[in-house]
């Protein structure tokens, strides 16, 4: 059975501390000025005193029906055997079609390699060594869970089966693989 790696971001536990942001940068050598990952603390929404923040993780959604893969003219953007949407830097010409086509706007041009870049679940760094992605490894409040959703015993499978979750922009049919557990205030009532 093929692997179906998913990431679950629990917005209840997330405190927006950017530990993930920094760890990703350190592990993957992302140059200054661009980033693979950000957590935006949006708001506060609501009427005082019933306010709430939204902790919004912005990173590649690893769509199962990825627009970026469809539009890449050279096939530099491809889906690997492990199901992870990756970039073959030496095939990329930098036409930016994938950057424009991504509905989540998470692809960017790496100023050092001049090719496009994005989160790839630490595929060639930590996953290759059998470790969890950098962000998951350091998150202080354990807000991130990562694993193979096809494994019924995996933490992610259990999490997705027991807690309500939502995904970004599902109306576009991208079938993202980043799931979000909404905060108990605002969003979906559980």
């Amino acid at each position: 059975m093929n692997k179906r790696y998913v990431m679950v971001h629990d917005e209840n536990k997330c405190i927006g501390c950017q530990a993930c942001n920094v760890a990703c940068r350190s592990e993957n050598g992302t140059p200054e000025g661009v980033t693979r990952l950000q957590v935006r603390v949006e708001g506060p929404f609501g009427d005082a005193p019933n306010l709430h923040f939204k902790y919004h993780r912005v990173s590649c959604q690893q769509c199962e029906d990825a627009p970026c893969v469809k539009v890449c003219p050279t096939g530099a953007a491809y889906v690997g055997e492990d199901g992870i949407v990756t970039i073959k830097e030496d095939k990329c010409v930098g036409c930016m079609y994938c950057v424009a086509a991504c509905p989540y706007k998470v692809r960017f041009v790496n100023p050092e390699t001049k090719a496009t870049d994005k989160c790839n679940f630490c595929k060639d760094t930590r996953l290759a060594r059998g470790e969890l992605p950098a962000c998951v490894t350091v998150c202080p409040t354990d807000a991130l869970t990562f694993g193979d959703a096809n494994e019924p015993d995996s933490e992610v499978a259990k999490l997705l089966n027991t807690k309500p979750s939502y995904q970004d922009k599902t109306h576009l049919g991208t079938k993202p693989r980043v799931y979000r557990i909404p905060t108990k205030r605002g969003g979906i009532e559980s």
Partner: protein, 760 residues
């Protein structure tokens, strides 16, 4: 404490001499050096972070000679193997081109920003010439020594002691001092919080979801997300902890003490408190109860804007969850000049629900001596405190020793800001020199203008730091310390519910011409002619001495980085005591109720918890009993100005670190829409805040997450010296708006003041 002299040390010194891989002596900051790949010391090294004072255990690995991937050390269970953004950015500090890697001496006017590189020998000569001259002409007490506590500060204060100056200061009076003194006055010792097991947590602006303290942050998040704990937050601002709370009450700044007292009132008046506990362990209850009679929730509502019925209800909920409930005594204790009574009122609430040494409550740290005694065997090696015989006793009094009310502060870090009056007004006598290490009072002390004046008036200022901080910019001599990733340190005690030790170990070879501060201050000591007080040669001999020459135990700690001994124990928690006696055959026999309640003793004059303290009354008349005192913090036509911590920066230290500066460089001011509307201010407008001591400009962030009478800014920004290129001129300098004020009994700085806000 082992009494050591040179002979003993050299006998025990088995390991080789200190290695310090000096890079070639190139001038300037790190930018001037050739960019060399980082030289890793090992594949994955366990060490201790120093990006903030939580000092989490870390595991660091050099990646491609360029970055260091830092995560947590999984051996420390309560830290979960995690690090925060600042911890992860340690390598960004390590290889910041702006880091100072060579000693510098001032060549222009103080603060002009003109520096010349000098050799370490020249630097030491400068130290000895200037400090010894001041000592000769005015006595060693004319030099103040200040450093943040922890890491290698012991070596720094050792130097001060050897030099003969009594004027040593930590940053205690600028931040946490008050709750330490409150705890010591009541319990004789500091207490810890068991947030992770708490069912009900009352929090007075202790924002551990932004001012991250890893084990406490994780503990509280677990309690909330997995164990159904209820969190009630009293804070004037809608911070992240307020967001995660079940209830947020926008309390008036500085008035938390009234809420705490009202809670105590309800607990006592409605007989919700643990009477048995109070009877057994507490003295001074009657005086407290009498005082607290007047502090009704209705009275508190008028002062704090928290509804009386809410206070009453919360008190009942707290009592219902007791003893596995806690009222968090906070950390930054600078909200009001009445901090002493505020923190004592909070501790009192905990005492009343009898949560001392219960799961989810407060407890005393179990160091090796206590633990081994209870266990009846040596579970944990005792950490020796190597000392030196024949240290000089200073003849002069401390500058803050003139006022008896600060009796408890003298041994708990001192009143740091008393340096200002001593320098500017020669009160009680003239200070002429200031030596600093890992401290940045221009940012962290209140009244920046005054601090600046004091620095300018000094005859000699020496600063040991990694950057030319806003304070170092006014030094005569800058001594560049190696970052924490490049140095080895003594074994540190991280005991909690059971003993634990951890150790800082270098991850990469030393960069540039820097040295660890223990070495700097030893060599300064040598230059000052105080060599006889420095019998140790290197860090390894010190570590061995700490471990009582037990090489095996030392190697074990260095291998794991963090070692925990035994099982967690809380004296009055039956389940934990049961597990304890199961594990240790010779353990102390428990009491009839299956706990070690009889072993619970307090290092107070009475041996019990002193809810009212005769000792305090003696040195600070009128302060023995906890009492409410009005503390006006602003004028009627002003807004409250408060500050707080943000998750991506540490106080006034990290704003120049590249990765962190890129995350956040500015601290826009939080202002309520109604207030902003009244002042004609829109979101993003440039605004000016003016207080009684200074004026700062910034941008407005209009948000409903703040009280209408309050404005807020994250602290640590707005450094004004040009050497910090990423931080300079960015944001609002909080210290420049806060007046110099010293709280009674605890000697704290005050971080709440009044400001006028206008559109620029």
């Amino acid at each position: 404490m082992i009494k050591l002299d040179r002979r003993n040390f050299l006998k025990g010194a088995g390991a080789g001499s200190a290695t310090c891989a000096l890079a070639t002596m190139l001038p300037g900051s790190l930018a001037a050096l050739e960019k060399e790949p980082l030289k890793a010391v090992g594949k994955e090294v366990a060490s201790i972070c120093e990006m903030c004072s939580t000092r989490c255990p870390i595991s660091a690995r050099v990646v491609d000679g360029k970055n260091v991937f830092i995560s947590g050390n999984k051996e420390a269970k309560s830290f979960g193997g995690k690090v925060c953004a600042r911890g992860g950015a340690g390598h960004s500090l390590l290889y910041d081109p702006q880091r100072i890697v060579n000693p510098l001496k001032r060549v222009g006017e103080r603060g002009e920003g003109k520096w010349a590189e000098i050799s370490w020998d020249e630097a030491y000569e400068m130290m000895s010439t200037n400090l010894n001259r001041i000592k000769r002409e005015h006595g060693p007490e004319a030099v103040a020594f200040s450093s943040k506590k922890g890491s290698l500060s012991g070596h720094f204060f050792h130097l001060a002691k050897a030099f003969g100056s009594p004027n040593t200061f930590t940053h205690g009076s600028l931040c946490p001092g008050a709750y330490v003194i409150a705890a010591k006055s009541m319990f004789g010792t500091k207490l810890k919080r068991d947030l992770g097991n708490s069912k009900y947590i009352i929090n007075f602006g202790h924002n551990i979801y932004e001012g991250i303290n890893m084990s406490e942050t994780r503990g509280m998040m677990k309690a909330q997300s997995e164990r159904g704990a209820k969190l009630v937050v009293f804070e004037p601002r809608f911070s992240v902890v307020a967001d995660k709370a079940d209830e947020w009450h926008a309390v008036r700044p500085g008035t938390d003490v009234a809420v705490a007292l009202a809670l105590c009132h309800v607990l006592i008046t409605d007989k919700l408190y643990d009477q048995a506990f109070v009877e057994r362990y507490v003295v001074g209850f009657d005086a407290f109860a009498a005082e607290v009679k007047a502090y009704t929730p209705e009275w508190a509502e008028g002062i704090t804007d928290v509804k009386a019925k809410d206070i009453r209800r919360i008190a009942y909920e707290l009592a219902a969850a007791a003893p596995h409930a806690v009222v968090d005594f906070g950390h930054r204790a600078t909200f009001t000049t009445e901090e002493f009574d505020m923190r004592r009122a909070i501790f009192a609430a905990n005492v009343l629900i009898g949560n001392i040494e219960r799961k989810g409550g407060l407890y005393l740290g179990k160091k090796a001596k206590t633990y081994n005694k209870l266990a009846g065997e040596t579970v944990a090696p005792k950490l020796a405190k190597p000392g030196v015989e024949g240290m000089p006793k200073p003849t002069a009094k401390r500058i803050d020793q003139m006022d008896k009310q600060y009796t408890m502060v003298w041994k708990n870090g001192g009143v740091y800001q008393s340096i200002l009056a001593a320098t500017l007004e020669a009160k009680p006598y003239q200070l002429r020199g200031w030596v600093m290490s890992r401290t940045n009072p221009m940012q962290t002390m209140t009244d920046r203008a005054k601090v600046l004046e004091a620095l300018k008036k000094m005859e000699f200022v020496a600063v040991c730091d990694v950057y030319i901080s806003e304070t170092a910019a006014y030094a005569d001599l800058i001594l560049p310390e190696s970052t924490y990733l490049e140095r080895d340190e003594e074994i540190a005690d991280k005991s909690g519910k059971n003993p634990a030790y951890y150790v800082r170990q270098r991850v990469v070879e030393t960069i540039g011409n820097t040295k660890p501060s223990w070495q700097i201050f030893k060599e300064v000591g040598d230059a000052l002619g105080l060599s006889k007080f420095y019998p140790w040669e290197n860090m390894e001999t010190l570590q061995l001495a700490q471990m009582n020459r037990d090489g095996k135990a030392l190697r074990h700690i260095r291998e794991k980085g963090y070692v925990s001994y035994g099982k967690p124990l809380m004296l009055r928690e039956p389940s934990m005591v049961a597990k304890f006696i199961d594990t240790y055959a010779n353990a102390r026999t428990p009491d009839d109720d299956g706990t070690y309640a009889s072993a619970l003793k307090f290092k107070t004059p009475s041996g019990k918890i002193e809810l009212s303290s005769a000792a305090v009354e003696a040195f600070a008349p009128g302060r023995g009993v906890i009492q409410y005192r009005d503390a006006p913090l602003k004028r009627a036509d002003e807004l409250y100005f408060i500050q707080g911590k943000v998750a991506v920066h540490t106080n006034g230290a990290t704003h120049n670190v590249p990765i962190l500066a890129n995350l956040m460089a500015d601290n826009a001011v939080w202002i309520h829409p109604v207030t902003a509307g009244r002042l004609g201010i829109n979101h993003g407008d440039a605004i000016r805040l003016t207080s009684s001591v200074g004026s700062e400009t910034s941008y407005a962030m209009v948000t409903p997450g703040i009280r209408q009478d309050t404005v807020f800014a994250y602290m640590g920004f707005g450094s004004k010296n040009k050497e910090l290129i990423r931080a300079s001129g960015k944001g609002l300098h909080c210290g420049n708006l806060l007046p110099d004020s010293t709280a009674p009994v605890v000697g704290m700085n005050l971080h709440t003041t009044g400001v006028k806000v206008e559109k620029v």
